[in-house]
Symmetry: C2
Subunit: 491 residues, 2 copies
């Protein structure tokens, strides 16, 4: 059907064609299905169709992506017809029906995601399928390969490339800047890419961004690593795993986290930076992301996949029942990190201890320390100030500097209603309260926690302080604290 | 965050807000999530967010739905923030995790669909959940109620309202116009709404549209029924089950047909027209939509639900191994229907027989015929011309008239390659060929079938003729015939 082109005057992020509802019906194509748009024998493209109340039945509104690709101008005529469904849709259905997918099929789906051939609804079907049916080890390996190969590669030539990943879920567990500083000070190449917060009050990228830039292109990043052995950047800007970004976007809608997707997502990004030695931090406990059983299952899967991909990988399984450090929120957490690096007297000891533990394992795994000597070496690097020096190098290379970090304009102290011993701190709830206070978008917003489990507290003593940039957020956060009562005191 | 309004100058079918990617990140909102747009304390709304390459970070592009609702003009400022997820998303997750949903939860989901609060991806999760987890009888009843109650009601006051539904899947099985004509001639009120083709070469609405209008508003429809006792219209224009329309749109993407959805969809539409007595035609066989086992399961479910909704319902389970009638495609099928109504000598006997069977059951179910006498009465109504007269009345009321129906411009005969007996006719394949020839969008396109199973055929004799409006479609249909070889001859 010949239709007259109108421009949407917007890049929609993917090719979009908008038709009059009657025209769509005549073409027998439905919203979210695809049409083929033909300018000439060689100039054609596929677009996802939407309908709108257009003035005329004989026009088609096209997003900039298509206008540019086909070199169209308003008033041109294009031939529009129903396009065949991408074959990847058949594979998604196959998986939803409980059948295994082979390498070709998984690659086709992942390419369909990256090249915008699949709609959000189709991706949601794929996520449902992975969630309900699970994936075999071979499927996970292929999903990992596909996510990696459809993204950018860092392409470093070093023989040993160290990396670390924390599965998250423990409030304030900001070990990454410390582990990177210690291990890079030991001479390891450690191109660390991190995420921003998804459901927490801050990802490592949000925290680093309080004092340095975290968004770089691949080329710039190589420069930073050449200078300092390491980096602390946001992975999202690098395009290492565009399929994963899209999958996470669709998973967020239902807060789904299929195991196969967690595994492939983590591993693909490690492989994209060329990691040869990887430490995985999988804390479990009452308020963490995974149970002990799930954590042990993940350890098994990761270990098997590490063999397939020929990398050395160690999983640190450790029970964590409460937040680590005192701060929750980007600036609050950065203050904790710096105080450990500067070995301040009032630094959070638990954060130091956890960082040393992870560092020592990575040093031993990479051969930078002999078996049993990792902890000693890590401690030396931290106490001698060498780790801090390395951190400063990295921050400087990322166009940042250590500055005194301003706190939020408003604060509210929360005090103990009775004397006793801290019995339980629900870190999940604390993260929700910090988010309500404005973190991570307001980098200065968050919480400061004065007490940890098993410590004594007197009635009226401060439990924590909420920081926020405006009254509403402060009040909402305080309100949420009162609803959740995340800290339990035992007489 | 205050943002400057730009108009998309389009009604997107639902409220859409487009942000600069950086602004979206700052707001911590992701594509397909929702933002709240606030003009004043009382003027606010929720929109689904998309990002685009906007010129400026401080602007927001809004679809006409929002511009109108909030009475905005370009250049106005609105306050934009992350909106809470609709609670229905939690219920979808619950179902995906295998738990049962109660009435309130199902209504919330269905309202979310109808009121555009749920995105296509979230609806896809709901479809996946229903597909993988199934639904209990109670859940199906509530889904039926929710789909019905979120749509329009016909609101007739008659004590007996008859209806009929065919689950489809058998090529040429165009009994509806015949059953309606026979039963309305017997005095039954029969407000029949039908669908257009979804995956077939024509739905009943497409077929009726070859000689009459099928799109009416609720008020007009009541007028038609008042005049003639019956109607033969397209259900889609009436808004009887808007949730169902949307669900089908999302199911189409993966060709999914969850049982609960089939059941609720059919039943809700019957209840919306006030049906008290319903015949369900569920053919099964090698090339139909459902297997014998599935058909029997559906019979059981429908019968149980009929009790809950206090309607009389009879399921006609019958094996059908081949197409019914000679024509496939809107005009071809209408010609078959008219020849049966006119009792032409060369009419398709199988179509007559099947229509009489369904009519006789409906006459008996409604008490218009005594047990065992339905067939006789139906035959009398057909042979006497009373059914044809009723058909003419309905068509006239729908602003149509019987005319000689033109066939497509081009045709191609397909002849037997060998002599023998017709062993098998794959009706599914024939529908695909008819679609390739242009049906149902080209109403004159389709197939004419000369032979049925068990009939003798000589080498070179015509098996069927393909009709199409242009050479490409004719060639493609012929090509597809050669690939599929849907008719098997045994020596």
């Amino acid at each position: 059907m010949l239709l007259k082109v109108k421009s949407l005057k917007l890049s929609a992020g993917r090719p979009v064609a908008i038709l009059h509802a009657k025209t769509a019906r005549h073409l027998d194509v439905h919203v979210d299905e695809r049409v083929e748009i033909i300018k000439s024998k060689t100039k054609k493209t596929i677009a996802v169709m939407d309908t709108a109340l257009l003035d005329r039945e004989d026009e088609i509104v096209l997003s900039e992506e298509i206008i540019k690709k086909l070199k169209l101008k308003e008033g041109d005529f294009v031939d529009v017809s129903t396009a065949r469904r991408p074959v990847s849709v058949l594979y998604i259905r196959k998986k939803l029906d409980g059948k295994k997918l082979n390498k070709k099929e998984i690659f086709e789906i992942v390419r369909g995601i990256v090249e915008n051939r699949l709609t959000e609804a189709e991706i949601a079907y794929f996520v449902s399928a992975a969630y309900k049916e699970g994936m075999s080890l071979e499927e996970m390996a292929n999903l990992t390969r596909a996510i990696k190969e459809t993204g950018n590669q860092l392409g470093l030539k070093n023989k040993i490339i160290a990396d670390k990943h924390g599965i998250g879920g423990v409030a304030g567990n900001r070990t990454t800047p410390l582990v990177v500083s210690i291990c890079a000070a030991a001479g390891l190449v450690m191109p660390k890419t991190s995420s921003r917060a998804i459901t927490s009050a801050g990802g490592t990228a949000d925290v680093i961004e309080t004092i340095a830039k975290v968004e770089f292109g691949i080329e710039e990043l190589r420069g930073i690593i050449k200078k300092t052995n390491a980096c602390l950047v946001w992975g999202g800007a690098l395009g290492l795993a565009p399929a994963d970004d899209k999958l996470i976007q669709v998973e967020r809608l239902l807060h789904l986290d299929p195991e196969s997707q967690i595994v492939a997502s983590i591993l693909a990004k490690k492989l994209s930076v060329g990691a040869t030695h990887v430490i995985l931090d999988i804390p479990y406990g009452k308020f963490t992301k995974v149970t002990k059983k799930q954590a042990m299952r993940l350890e098994k899967i990761f270990s098997s996949l590490a063999k397939i991909f020929k990398i050395k990988l160690k999983v640190i399984l450790k029970r964590e029942e409460q937040p680590i450090g005192n701060g929750i929120g980007p600036v609050m957490e950065m203050r904790d990190v710096i105080s450990v690096l500067q070995q301040k007297k009032d630094m959070p000891k638990d954060l130091e201890k956890r960082s040393l533990l992870l560092s020592s394992h990575l040093l031993e795994l990479t051969g930078k320390a002999r078996k049993g000597e990792g902890k000693k070496i890590a401690e030396q690097l931290l106490k001698s100030g060498k780790a801090y020096k390395k951190f400063l190098e990295i921050i400087t290379a990322q166009q940042g500097r250590i500055k005194s970090l301003r706190l939020a304009k408003l604060k509210k102290d929360i005090r103990a209603r009775k004397s006793g011993i801290i019995k339980e701190i629900n870190g999940k709830d604390l993260m929700a309260i910090a988010r309500t206070a404005g973190a991570p978008a307001d980098k200065v917003a968050g919480l400061y926690l004065y007490k940890h489990c098993k410590e004594k507290i007197a009635r009226g003593e401060k439990l924590l302080t909420i920081y926020a940039e405006n009254k509403d957020k402060l009040r909402n956060a305080e309100q949420l604290y009162k609803e959740l009562l995340p800290i339990k005191i035992k007489k």
